[in-house]
Chain length 331, copies 2
């Protein structure tokens, strides 16, 4: 028998344990070309809350009474595929099941054994891939440039800053507590930090922290912080729109500074980024990130819970701010 | 002797004839490697008003008592250069002088005799180059896509629309009078037009005119029209910020819809464009535009004044709306 977690009802507001249901199913039989997977680590992420809503987005919503899914690290426990052997580990978008069968299509086979398996859900998973691929495809950092990052202490922001340092840039982070500012400087090597909650003038504080102006702004938040960053950009700056937390869940689109005048004057480039569009580059990106990780050039925070039964609870805890960095469950 | 037009004083508000002064100077002697040029057509453009202000911008301001300059078509009347012969025609950024010497550096030698010389100041000059190179470098139009253009009846917008048709796109233009809408459809082949001054809901009118959504928005105006366009963009849309007339000359930056949520959701790309950054592509671009022009695939409007003495007056007339399309002076 294998346990499965399904969506019992769509959450209204903050998710609760009653929104989830545990079921059991028989261990599946695999056919020719298929593999049987046992979940080892399950990722829980804020974006899953969006998929629990019944609305059209860039990924289809979860269905009621069907299994939930997220990034999972699993072990191959049986194989009738030429591509996988018993004992292989894979990462990929998988159902919240203890055991499941799969064709192997779209799964990443884990070959680098120098890094912990759980890293494949964080720094070698979607958060690390987001940081790396957005910088590669849009940011195009050059040595000596200045990189500004909002949400700097978050799972994505902290990797963005570290890649900036690897590329030889000045890196400035924006976060919401003095503890986070200390943390990004001491653990992740940021050159400077700005606490947006205590600053008197964020535009001026960015100018002070970025004396040569901002060449790349990695925006995880949107809103007033974006406006302040835009007033400090250099000619040919690149702005990565990776998140807009500050304007999500608002009934009406809020108003802000008109940016088109700056866009023309600075010949700036602004581009929205969603990592799933870049699946064809995942393998190479994981290789690069894994090599930096093995060389100790990248550090990460993770908060680990234990036991398959605690997956819904761990997911809910994200919204209570109980995690530092990536939240995941060791099955 | 050769006449020269200098900036006597910086205009306040609309330029006036008293802001300009005519001087005379001796016909210059040319040295080894130099050429002597006689102006044939002189371009007058709205952006020159900006250079008359004493403020830092992407090009340095004109100096008091020094010659003004713009795009000029000139004939080589003497040559001590290996690159030019007497009788050659060139276009380039030249002083407002009847006769001037030059090293030839940065000038475009006119080789295509199948098009009128004056075209090198309009459709084969900065306006045509702006339309073509912004579409090439940012728009990247694909056959079957929908192209929306604001300022559609203007010198840039009308070329943008025609290139869209050459590339096999549906082309929709936004302009400010019904006459202009008729004109862009009948003369330039736009599929549809929207009068932004008489529309009751521009967002809905764009949706109706672009039933498959907007893939590329060429923005010459900024402001509310940009917001309306953004609410109609497709995934992976490209937005070219080519002008923001609606917010220039305002004391404070106006507020508008926050666009970062749409940018992320649609993975849109928005980029500011100034044609001078792309001088290395001018030769190839002029070749392509000239070939379309010779094949009658591109049409253009121009308003021609006669006589070197009328250059300041022609410039002032732009701000009185007396031109249709490109305004220039035949010397």
């Amino acid at each position: 028998m294998s346990k499965v977690i399904t969506l019992k009802e769509r959450p209204s507001g903050k998710p609760e344990e009653k929104n989830f249901e545990f079921k059991t199913e028989d261990k599946p039989e695999i056919g020719e070309g298929e593999i049987l997977l046992e979940s080892k680590y399950i990722s829980v992420d804020p974006y899953l809350r969006g998929r629990m809503r019944d609305e059209d987005s860039y990924i289809p919503p979860f269905k009621i009474d069907e299994p939930l899914a997220s990034m999972v690290v699993a072990e191959v426990i049986e194989s009738k595929s030429n591509d996988f052997e018993k004992g292989d580990h894979v990462s990929g978008m998988l159902d919240w099941k203890e055991i499941q069968k799969h064709t192997g299509e779209g799964l990443n086979k884990i070959t680098n054994k120098d890094v912990p398996l759980s890293a494949y859900l964080g720094i070698l998973g979607l958060t690390g891939l987001t940081a790396y691929l957005a910088l590669e495809t849009i940011g195009k950092l050059k040595e000596g440039e200045t990189l500004l990052v909002s949400g700097a202490a978050g799972a994505v922001g902290s990797v963005v800053g570290q890649i900036g340092k690897i590329k030889g840039c000045r890196v400035v982070g924006i976060a919401g507590t003095d503890e986070k500012i200390d943390h990004i400087k001491s653990k992740f090597g940021f050159d400077a930090g700005i606490n947006y909650k205590t600053t008197e003038n964020i535009k001026e504080d960015i100018a002070k922290a970025c004396p040569d102006g901002v060449d790349v702004y990695f925006d995880n938040v949107g809103g007033d912080i974006l406006d302040a960053a835009m007033q400090n950009i250099n000619d040919f700056a690149r702005i990565i729109n990776c998140g807009a937390i500050s304007i999500y869940n608002k009934e009406e689109v809020p108003k802000g500074m008109r940016l088109e005048g700056i866009m023309v004057k600075k010949r700036a480039l602004m581009q929205g980024f969603i990592v799933r569009d870049h699946a064809d580059q995942f393998q190479d990106a994981i290789k690069q990130l894994g090599s930096w990780l093995a060389d100790d050039k990248l550090k990460f925070d993770e908060t680990k819970r234990e036991g398959f039964d605690n997956v819904p609870k761990a997911f809910i805890e994200i919204f209570e701010g109980k995690n530092t960095g990536k939240m995941l469950v060791k099955v």
